[in-house]
Amino acid sequence: MRDLVLFSLIVLAGTGGELCMSRAMQRVGGVASFDPAQIVRVVRRGLGQPWMWAGVSMMALAFFALLGALSIYNVSFVVPVTALSYIAGALGGIFFLDERVTFWRWMGVLLVAVGVTLVVLGKG
């Protein structure tokens, strides 16, 4: 039970945090150029969005939960966490950010998830 809670916390807070950050930047609007003044303005506007701070807090929570998990289990714990994060990210993109994830994008996301899983396994 504790494993399941910790596991879902890391996946959901980690991906959820990045999704909140994306929503904040979605509201700010796109950067059109590399003009430093515009970059500074967009970053400042992004930091002024409540969604940004919700996102950063969730990412911090996920980070500490991961540190805690790694002190209990070994690194193989990270494998399903990273793989599932990509699936959760695409689902969050669809339902939280109204993005259109096409068949080919799904295929790419699944390939990346498989590749990342192999990389993490290959480190052990």
Binding site: E18, L19, M21, S22, M25, Q26, R27, V28, G29, G30, V31, A32, Q38, I39, R41, V42, V43, R45, G46, Y86, G89, A90, G92, G93, I94, L97, D98, E99, R100, V101, T102, W104, R105, M107, G108, V109, L110, L111, V112, A113, V114, G115, V116, T117, L118, V119, V120, L121, G122, K123
Partner: protein
């Protein structure tokens, strides 16, 4: 920008790792030890370069997300796994297992497939002056 992201993230972590190795094992008690460790950490050039790299990567991430889908950026940012392996192999002379190279090849293929899709599928304004 995605390039900046996938290079600065791993670079920052490698620099922080090297910095902390130079600082040595952390002992937090007695307090005088903690102070020495803290001073040595903040006096270390690698640490500051690492923090700088991670900051640059966070800003690049924000900028990319301002115009591209999260479901586009998240898979693309996994190219960082390839950069980590290359950095480890070329700079630190680490052994990279065949399984890891295979994983990196599949990641590249996946990022290529994602890259063929439209980066942005939502309507949003381009940022103008305030």
């Amino acid at each position: 920008m995605i390039l900046v992201m996938v290079v600065c993230g791993p670079l920052g972590n490698v620099l922080l790792g090297r910095g902390m190795k130079q600082v040595g094992a952390v002992s937090i008690w007695p307090v005088s030890h903690l102070l020495t460790v803290a001073l040595r950490t903040f006096a270390n050039v690698s640490i500051w370069m690492g923090i700088g790299s991670l900051l640059v990567m966070f800003i690049a991430y924000m900028l990319v997300l301002s115009w591209a889908d999260y479901s586009f950026v998240q898979p693309a940012s996994s190219l960082a796994y390839g950069v980590v392996a290359l950095l480890g192999y070329l700079v630190l002379g680490e052994h990279v297992s065949p399984l890891r190279w295979a994983g990196i090849a599949i990641i590249c293929l996946g990022v290529f497939v994602v890259g063929q899709t439209a980066p942005r599928t939502t309507n949003r304004e381009m940022a103008g002056p305030d």
